[in-house]
Point group: C2
Chain length 457, copies 2
């Protein structure tokens, strides 16, 4: 197999698709720290969580032992609509860079949500349906998660209520229309529909909203509406579990052609894509079966791994959600208007945080204009117009390939191309017009946000 | 093979991709009528055409005999970046419609241009490069063709100058930014850069431009700039030739699984997609090897086949291009603001016009709101958000499938899903808000435009 000619795109057959998700936590010696009740600081119980989340998802959230979860047939059928996703050999990029490195990327943007988010959206919607619920609520910022959830709910005939951060709602009317096309109800947040929304609007009449506020509204609506639950697109362990399909497919495709990556690179916001991509490879590393270099790439404007602290913090700005132990900049940290909306999160998945703290993964941060320069260079040779989020991984993949050019090493580099940038052209425009800024928070700013972390004994 | 389980998506292997384009004209008894010199009304010679088009493309344009053109390796390599395109079995749509019909669609939207236009853009750019040219000019309305050409030129290192109809330039800034990302120069038309542009601006100071005007500017610039030529994304025979890759791939995928379509449906503007999709199937029909039902679908607002006349006409509103014999509404016909910009063309490919006139193909027209209703229903079950153009074919495919439900016939329906609607959300918004109109031109309007056709003996 090793000598087989590698095609430009490796598509697995449908019968080669993963049949089970992989729970990386099962192979971790140091398990990620449990979620804590924000009042008592005691570990959240299944019962406490099930008021907000579906029962099966609570089980997945708390289960650190079961290595594999069979994927239900209905989810597998949905996956077949847009999966297997291609693993692309970046021949054109290699040629352009004149590097001896071999570059591969797993492209998750070949679906209408424009990203990998659909992998978990359909799973969460499915379990809500299974439980006999009527609908789900969520928040969305950049809009990829909201779109993904709308698609999943349309397919299953479930109501979908999305609180969209007000400034996004106004600046990205097309994202909103995609969600409406899939039958979702989209409300600009803060709204007059919820207590927390009314309170915030009374306090800050002209506010443009925030993700934290939208989360609070979505949770409130889920808890107060009969047969509704709340769902979330990243950070949580259940999301990492579903997203493992990315890594499992990638590994199956590479194994089929006898290829082994040396370096695995992913952008990191809440961690859903990175966690999913690296899962089976990290599993091998944890079990001592193979070694890989993992690199998490975050924006210099929101550097939770590279400049944050490892501590218990609120998952949301509104402080209504459980506390999670993670690398965090503090839930009060407001990232500067970076254009990679999907990476503007103050914290990082507990699982990835633990792996990073254990020295099993590296992290680096990159400046925005460097990211867009990489995005444009990539688009011109590989054709695909990448999302700003994904382009963080492209930047570091190119840098690593150029390093190979200097040293002459024929390394195999794998990165996650999480999505497309069709709805991000306003950011590309700023880049083309030289109007893009590279704000990096000061040490003082970061210290001020971290000083407000909750005190957990 | 016939009993093999059909997957949701059939992806050919790279080595199963077509190695040659198929020239349908070679199998036509009644060849399409030749282009005429707009002054002399004599057939255009290769020499006359080569001032505007590349030499190899002129050869392809005029060649009605050679059945197969080998695809150059560099084009094949480019095709591998986004092809083979999937042939999708619409299991979810069939289930939703509860039809015994089997529905397949060839999806050409899995690339950044968002449509099939890239298939011909790379070919035309390649021959320009081969001829040692420096760049190419073109016009774009909706923007798919301009984007496709920008991508092809970026890949080959060729200059690309796009005249974008002014109202599109302003209403679709994101399309414009995609082209800029690929290094194209994009000018709103009419502009002060050309004689024709200056003349039109002097006569109509506040004009929003038109496709006809943009064509005239692009042709003028190509002719006046050293080492430049003009390229066009539809209507021409050369474009049909390149687009045959759609049909050849579709047929190879169907043959692999022993499937034979009964009905083949495509949307029809200038004819590039429809001509490409049906080419090899129509070839079989012409040679008496098989029979198929072909249906061209056009918007009721711009019904060239169903309500036009078969006559010589100008290809552009500016009347600078050669005359073509085709089904036409008259080059002076201004379609109402339909949202399927790619179908707002007054004429139809000469090749398709001849086939239609010979009774080898049917045509039907559909109203816009019916088209968007089909688009939305399709998106909700098949996931893909279709372009308004493509949704014309979806509408008729659904109607045919519902007819099968009534009669109980298990017909196999194939349609072309030419692209995605990410840049058309303004139209979807109008549809959601009930603000979409269904304008149909009156007989008087059509008669007035046809009265102005050029007199050709």
């Amino acid at each position: 197999m090793a000598n087989k000619q590698i095609p430009y795109k490796i598509y697995l057959d449908e019968n080669e698709m993963p049949k089970a998700w992989y729970n990386l936590r099962a192979d971790m010696k140091n398990k990620p720290a449990p979620l804590l009740n924000p009042q008592t600081h005691e570990p959240m119980t299944a019962q406490e969580l099930s008021g907000v989340f579906c029962e099966e998802l609570v089980k997945q959230e708390l289960d650190t032992d079961t290595a594999y979860y069979p994927i239900p047939q209905e989810i597998l059928d949905f996956y077949k609509m847009y999966r297997p996703a291609p693993l692309v050999r970046a021949y054109c990029l290699e040629k352009k860079l004149q590097t001896p490195a071999k570059i591969y990327y797993k492209f998750e943007g070949n679906n209408t949500s424009g990203s990998h988010k659909l992998n978990s959206a359909i799973a969460q919607a499915y379990y809500a349906k299974q439980q006999g619920l009527k609908g789900v609520t969520t928040e969305t910022g950049a809009g990829q998660w909201g779109t993904a959830l709308s698609m999943a709910c349309a397919y299953l005939g479930l109501d979908c209520k999305v609180y969209m951060v007000k400034c996004s709602y106004e600046q990205k009317p097309y994202r909103r229309e995609v969600m409406r096309t899939y039958g979702a109800s989209v409300t600009p947040s803060p709204s007059m529909e919820t207590e927390v929304g009314r309170r915030i609007l009374a306090e800050h009449p002209g506010t443009n909203g925030s993700l934290g506020c939208a989360i609070s509204e979505a949770v409130e609506t889920a808890v107060k509406t009969e047969c509704y639950r709340y769902v979330l697109g990243s950070v949580l362990n259940q999301v990492m579990l579903h997203q493992s399909v990315i890594g499992l497919e990638t590994k199956a495709a590479m194994d089929k052609y006898g290829v082994k990556p040396d370096i695995i690179i992913g952008c990191a916001g809440g961690g859903s894509n990175l966690g999913g991509l690296i899962a089976p490879f990290m599993g091998e590393k944890l079990r001592g079966e193979a070694d890989y270099r993992f690199i998490a790439v975050e924006p210099a404007s929101c550097p939770s791994l590279t400049r944050g602290v490892y501590a218990y913090d609120y998952c949301d700005t509104g402080m209504v959600c459980p506390l999670a132990k993670m690398y965090t900049l503090g839930s009060g940290f407001i990232p500067s208007p970076s254009h990679a909306g999907g990476l503007r999160y103050h914290g990082m998945s507990s699982t990835l945080s633990q792996l990073y703290d254990d020295g099993l993964m590296e992290a680096t941060s990159v400046a925005q204009t460097d990211v867009f320069a990489a995005a444009e260079a990539f688009a011109r040779v590989e054709g695909i117009l990448p999302a700003p989020e994904s382009s963080h991984a492209i930047r570091v993949a190119i840098d690593e390939a150029l390093r190979c050019k200097e040293t002459g090493e024929e390394k195999t580099i794998l990165f996650g191309l999480t999505g497309t940038g069709y709805f991000d052209m306003m950011s590309y425009e700023k880049f083309h017009d030289g109007k893009m800024s590279d704000y990096i928070p000061t040490d003082e700013e970061l210290a001020a946000a971290v000083a407000k972390l909750p005190k957990v004994e």
